[in-house]
Amino acid sequence: MIRTGARSRFVQICSIVPLRILLCTLLCPLFCTFFDYSQAQAATKEKRNVAMILFRGETPSEQGFRETLAAAAEYDVQFTTFDAAQSKERLQEIIAGLDTLQYDMIYAFGTMAAQVALAKIKDTPIIFNVVQRPIEANVAATWEHSGNNATGASNMVSMESAFKTLALVLNIRKLAFVYNENDPAPRYQRADVEKIRKKFGFKVIDVTVQNTADIPEALKLIVNSKVDAVMFPSDSFIKANANDIMETLNKHRIPTIAIIPEMVRENEALMSLGPDYYELGQLAAFNALQVFGGKHPSDVPIQTVPSLKISINLKTADMLGVNVPLQLLSLSTIIR
């Protein structure tokens, strides 16, 4: 009652015409100043065009890249996306047909896209992302100075950390390592696994595939080898065929470990031990901002994520009878 009375008095006072005019006179300049400020902000933002060349569609790393650049106060970034849909030929066509004059920067996802882009584009800055071994893949000369028009973020992970984490969940003596021979990145991970194999006391069975027709034979080899677990490196071909692969391996109760985190959520792999792709996208964007700011890509060091992201699929763990220790829960992303 009291509130209603007070409100009606306020309305009565405001209905007095001269007072309304006074209020408008005071508030209008305030609104105008704010509007002008917002417009000025937009006008002062420098426009930048980025061509995003993807190899296997959108991943969380692109989301991280876009969101970080969109949040930058100095730039108004426009993105144009090209997806090669996992075809090397399509990738080459995209890059060959790219009018680099239209773009201030080229974003390339994966080792293959980065290599092809670097071979064709020499005068536009390239920001690569999810490139496992930039030095070995000839994408950069060193981690500090690429020596060319590229910089970016690497998804390199410490295999020792990965296996230490894995030892909390599984006891592995025989490990199948499945990868596409045509992709350069998994070979580097295979070499890393070989280095720590003796320390952790396990044997590696190499299972290579080149096309989808090879997959049934590869799965047969894994099942017959009676392995304790299967490891999938960061490999776009494997990711694209992960549903069929995981279905068979889960049916045979063989634990699967992936480096690509989405394989746990989307394809029901048991666990992933790799970098957070969203964080990788953010790191690549930080490098992009430095290049926008005037630095030469060669002078911007390549970024790596400081720690592993652990994802565990609890449903798969239950299916396989794998016990997930509680202490891992506080560090992991759990998929149920």
Partner: protein, 335 residues
């Protein structure tokens, strides 16, 4: 962070995982109780013998040879086990000294927790091999304390010979040596070594349900009517000991012996948190039924009051363990 925020940080997932661990254990204990009541031929001695001489030594070797050997970790757990035991002994004398004078109790069920039968399976289910290995260290120290302090309290002497006859001691030593020294295995024998290892692992896993059954086995023979007599001892065991353990963890952190900084080595961080969790959960375990030796040894030297302490602490632990876990999850795993 406030207490409310701490408690809120424990998600339903942690509670779910805890229940997934505790419910099967409780069910197997019940199976043990039922077997104990129905088994008229008294086969517990055979069950204990099999568990103690074959399955448990295999479990201990299987766990320790895979766990990185770390003297600091052993020292942390050993010190905690010793301080806890000494602390609870003093507390028992202080609060229940009169009962001891009347020869109603020898305090053993209050001082010594079930560090093998219940702790090892629970540690494995909840914390995997990392937790199991730490729980094994705790168990080994408790064995030593049982045959020194425990024997002294009951018999007035230390029973070294009995202690040195325990097979688990030697498999533990072997496991630690294998973990500390990488033994070169010729490639031709690698497969054979792994198969032998799998055999030991499998036998060791068999120890887990057997240990829980052997925990439940004598419980069914303790008269429920006596349970009230055991309440004071049980309270010290299942409430006093975990509170003491939390204080100990606090002191460890304050002194810097257990580092709470996350730092770069996240795996080192969770390893230390697991050590803390194992110390607290070990302290919260109900009384050890081995201190009673009701049926297995045929030497029922313990009082009704001590037997009642075992029963009361087991029944009470179903509630207190849940509370302790909740606080462990909130204070230890979530900063």
């Amino acid at each position: 962070m406030t207490l409310q925020a701490y408690l809120a940080s424990v998600s339903s997932l942690e509670i779910l995982m805890w229940l997934r661990g505790i419910i099967p254990v409780v069910l197997i204990v019940v199976v043990g109780v039922v077997i104990g009541r129905w088994d008229q031929s008294r086969n517990q001695r055979t069950l204990d013998k099999l568990t103690q001489q074959i399955f448990l030594p295999c479990l201990i070797f299987s766990s320790l040879h895979r766990h990185p050997f770390d003297l600091k970790e052993i020292a942390q757990i050993g010190t905690a086990a010793t301080l806890l035991t000494v602390g609870i002994t003093l507390l028992s004398f202080l609060l229940m000294g009169a009962a001891r004078k009347q020869q109603e109790t020898n305090f053993l069920p209050t001082i010594f927790m079930s560090s093998a039968s219940l702790l090892l399976p629970l540690a494995f289910i909840l914390f995997g091999n990392q937790g199991l290995a730490k729980a094994i260290y705790f168990y080994l120290f408790m064995l030593l304390l049982t045959h020194t302090l425990g024997s002294f309290l009951t018999e007035g002497k230390v029973t070294w010979r009995q202690f040195l006859k325990i097979p688990s001691l030697y498999t533990a030593l072997l496991g630690m040596v294998c973990a500390a020294v990488t033994l070169p295995i010729p490639a031709a024998f690698e497969e054979l070594a792994w198969l032998s290892e799998k055999g030991i692992d499998l036998t060791g896993l068999g120890a887990l349900p057997l240990l829980i059954i052997s925990f439940g086995y004598p419980l069914g023979r303790i008269p429920l009517a006596d349970v009230l007599k055991g309440v004071p001892g049980a309270l010290i065991r299942i409430v006093g000991a975990p509170v003491f353990a939390f204080m100990l963890i606090y002191l460890y952190r304050q002194s810097g012996w257990l580092n709470f900084e996350k730092g770069y080595d996240i795996l080192g961080f969770i390893d230390q948190r697991t050590t803390e969790a194992i110390i607290v959960i070990s302290a919260a375990m109900p009384s050890s039924h081995h201190t009673l030796r009701l049926d297995a040894s045929g030497n029922p030297t313990v009082s009704q009051r001590d037997a009642a302490t075992v029963l009361a602490s087991t029944l009470g632990a179903m509630v207190t363990l849940c509370v302790v876990f909740f606080f462990t999850a909130a204070f230890i795993f979530f900063d």
